[in-house]
Symmetry: C2
DNA sequence: GTAGCGCGGATCGCTCAACAAATCACCCGT
DNA sequence: ACGGGTGATTTGTTGAGCGATCCGCGCTAC
């Protein structure tokens, strides 16, 4: 980095840019595919043919395999030797495991009050209002993502990049199971009021009670999801 | 799965097997490379030439690239577009971030007393004795891995596979920084007595005090590491 | 009928060779 | 010393190819 400017004016110009849209082809493929997976556009369990997908995305088989390897590492795909890659199918155990881990992360983040910043707290509030307006517009998919933002913001209270990363990955993984939750309204809507309560508790400084509430909330959500899950299997 | 056997006799035959040594070539490469990286045999910052490594490990460039992608995803390598992959160089911030996260995970696991099993607790004790005998034999590298096993066992108290996975990954990542800690004795030895104390506290059922002790311990270790870190840079 | 067997056909795992594009190292003129 | 051009090196990606493995199907034997 050449130190030509006293203040880094140039850096500011590019600061708010939406990331160069994934430079490499493989990463672009990963992003697209990940989008499909967490939106449930490909049913869990289906095999992803290398040839077919390579053709569909106009990339070589080699590049596609790089992408597959990454997504398998993110646990969105399963790689079975000499058989191919499949969209991950979550079991009921996976769901409880994910929720258990989430509970640990989120309550832990909540407990680190000395790290909480005003910026993070306002992100929580933002996610809540996002959810409220999505509900008002009866945009249930939007309500789902708002809910995700809420929990990411909670985890963000710890101010730890690594925690944020694992949290997003957990949520992505969890989304694989959302296709069994139909209609989405029934799943997300009841928790909106919980989000409001928790947000207010945090703002009022009573993180203890917020954590208790959150824990109960997550237990309930987990139980509901497991129930819906075992009903279909 | 064909249901030929009433009791699954066959499964037992293969139960204790040391995993088929990574079936695919790419995974084998990943394992070997990961071994090198966490042992510090390749200095952080060095570029890993595709051609050279492909030749050295007798695999094609394409397969090697798959391996590189995975290791980059594990944050052991850094991939820079059109420049190549480099062994990750941790910053002091990384170290504190890792320790902060570890603290959250380990104390969280410790707090979930209702999930603690006797099997897990004995694993902790095992790691402690492993460390004691390593210290007696003046095997400082062995003491390091014993210490790792200790913390993995603590995290294992939560009984959550995902937590275990992120914990191992964190420890692997942290190991990238161990090469600055020379001699290893001075870094690991002081903490052996702490391990003993914490183990006893857990066995006596006083997880509260164990958590406090652990937290202080990790803070100290982090500070020491950061100090050693900034001394070299 | 059904359990075992063998035989393609499809797909994966991996390699090799090639080429465009980007980066790097070096030299040059100023 | 500094900016700029130029060729060498390395990466990004592709395409073809081949052995290995798995799957489905039909055959046979009991």
């Amino acid at each position: 980095m050449t130190q030509t400017h006293g203040l880094d004016v140039v850096a500011d110009l590019f600061a708010g840019r939406p990331a160069p849209v994934a430079a490499s082809t493989a990463e672009r493929v990963v992003d697209v595919l990940r989008g499909y997976l967490i939106e449930g556009r490909i049913v869990p369990g289906t095999r992803l043919s290398e040839e077919a997908f390579a053709a569909a995305m106009s990339v070589s088989r080699n590049t596609l395999r790089e992408a597959f390897r990454i997504l398998a590492h993110e646990k969105l795909l399963v790689h079975e030797m000499n058989r191919g890659v499949f969209v991950r199918e979550l079991t009921a155990d996976d769901v409880t495991s994910i929720y258990q881990f989430r509970t640990m992360l989120e309550t832990s983040a909540l407990a680190q009050t000395e790290r909480h910043t005003q910026a993070q707290k306002s992100k929580i509030r933002l996610a809540v209002t996002e959810g409220l307006s999505a509900a008002e517009a009866e945009d249930w998919r939007g309500l789902g993502t708002a809910n995700m933002h809420f929990h990411l913001a909670i985890a963000g209270l710890a101010g730890n990049r690594r925690l944020d990363a694992t949290m997003s990955q957990l949520l992505a993984e969890q989304r694989l199971a959302f296709h069994v939750m139909t209609p989405l309204k029934d799943f997300h809507d009841p928790y909106l009021t919980d989000n409001v309560t928790i947000c207010e508790l945090i703002e009022s400084g009573d993180v203890e009670e917020a954590a208790r509430h959150l824990r109960a909330y997550l237990d309930r959500a987990c139980a509901q999801m497991v129930r819906a899950f075992e009903a279909t299997s």
